[in-house]
């Protein structure tokens, strides 16, 4: 019995080819697919119609929390918990809170960016089927890959392979799970 397939992967030599192939695959109706490249390619985002990341919302919320928390902490200490006259300034000496408020904002926003980005990417991921393709290690060097997954409703081993072959890839390989 054949092993179940994760999908079909096509290897390309240039980023432009990958962008073209991804665009064609999207217009062909394929949705469950991913492109792999050693360098960021802005256009892929558009041709594959990838929805914008939710990351900024988390970062904004964390930043607001950090600024309110930082300012609130200082306000609570210097006005409520331990009111102390410093050189005749008002207890709520807000200009002096700002640097700390800024720091806590950046700290929380920064840490949230890192943690949320890792979580949204689904990392850590100890196993991924595409690594079963020996040449896939070139995806972190100088080769560009487009993988159409078997889960896609339009996926058909024969037709999808023909379609990928028509995009002039270096080769098309079956990806085992």
């Amino acid at each position: 019995m054949r092993k179940p397939l994760y999908g079909l992967i096509a290897e390309f030599a240039a980023p432009e080819q990958l962008v073209y192939a991804a665009g064609e695959a999207h217009s062909e109706g394929y949705r469950k697919m991913d492109a792999y490249s050693p360098l960021p390619i802005e256009e892929l985002h558009h041709v594959m119609h990838i929805p914008d990341t939710k990351l900024p919302r988390f970062v904004l919320a964390a930043g607001l929390l950090g600024s309110i928390g930082g300012f609130g902490l200082l306000y609570w200490i210097t006005v409520i918990n331990y009111p102390h006259n410093v050189g005749g300034r008002p207890l709520n000496s807000w200009p002096q809170y700002i640097p700390i408020t800024f720091e806590t904002t950046v700290l929380l926003a920064g840490l949230t960016t890192l943690v949320t980005m890792i979580a949204l990417c689904g990392l850590p991921m100890p196993y991924h089927p595409v690594f079963n393709v020996p040449r896939f290690r070139l995806a972190s060097r100088d080769r560009f890959f487009l993988c159409i997954e078997a889960e896609d409703p339009r996926f058909d081993l024969q037709r999808t392979r023909q379609f990928l072959e028509s995009l002039h890839p270096h080769e098309v390989t079956e990806v085992e799970i």
């Binding site: 005749g88 300034r89 200009p95 002096q96 700002i98 640097p99």
Partner: protein, 389 residues
Amino acid sequence: MSTAEAMRPHLDRLQTRAFMVGVIGVAALGAGLVSNSEQFYRSYLMGFVYWMGVALGSLGLLMLHHMVGGNWGVAIRRGLEAGTRTLPLMVLLAIPVFLGAHSLYEWTHADVVENDPVLRHKSLYLNMTGFTLRAVFYFLIWFGLSTLLNRYSKAQESEGYWAVRPRLQRVSAPGLILHCLTVTFFAVDFVMSVEPHWFSTIYGAIFIAGQVLSTFAFMVVLMRSLTLREPMKNAVSAQTFHDLGNLMFAFNMFWAYVSFSQLLIIWSANFPEETIWYLKRTKGGWEYVGLSLFVFHFSLIFLLLLIRKFKRQPAILSKIAVWVILMRLVDLFWIIQPAFSHGSQGGVPAPQFHVHWLDIVAPVAIGGLWVAFFAFQLKKRPLDPLPLA
């Protein structure tokens, strides 16, 4: 037909309209000079310093671009070069400041200086001869830099981009240092000395940040209006507008950072001779102007320019840029005008918020003349970015 020729009718129209605004504005300014010369000079100083800022910001950004490169600079380079070539006009526009020096600068009054130990000690620097000689010196440096940069830029078209680039960099690197120093001294001489007792060492940085921000905003509006028409349609990519939006965002932050640093340092030290500047600006209605800078200059522009979509759509980005230009004027208004808001109650300054129609007419009138001269200069050279070959 070259791009510059194709765009000529549009630039001609811009020049004519701006010139009309300038002429009408100057007529109104003339009426203001006759009716209230004290107020005329105060408003004029603000308008002059604003447009001087766009010319100087162009010079600084042009040199920065030659040093660090980047697509943002390729796109607006022709605008920046034309901006530096408006400096001759700024010399003419500086004349009224000298004519009004007696109304603007307390240190020009011999009797006041005589009876004021602080001003007496500062008179070695703050005197009319020194003020004039220094202004001539600043302008000579700016002219020198602008002339060399424009000459080499022209040479780049015939001799090739990379052949001339080292020359542009040899001017720009020392030029940036000279620029920051001269702009700082210019800000101290022309603006800070309206309150001659007060001093702040971060003042120059506040002006440099503000000038660069005004220049970016002006260039965004310019590129938006130029790229509405063939053959410049799509000449500037969404990514480049995005970059310009990010740079406006960064310099808005930088302006807020240096402006706030000044407040924090003065607040922490709490010396009467320093706090007076803020006391004048946080009373009698001026505090709402200061608060509006925090809300509508820093915070609003910060939030608007956080949104990626807004930066990638020239139509929206240019509207934000117009807002930046307006808020830059409010900042200068808050820096300059309360200085003349005299009056005190029991030894404590009691300034009263006051906005005169000349405060609005002066920046518009000078802006009309400046934009007309800018369009005239922009037409003289090609509009396309330089070929890299």
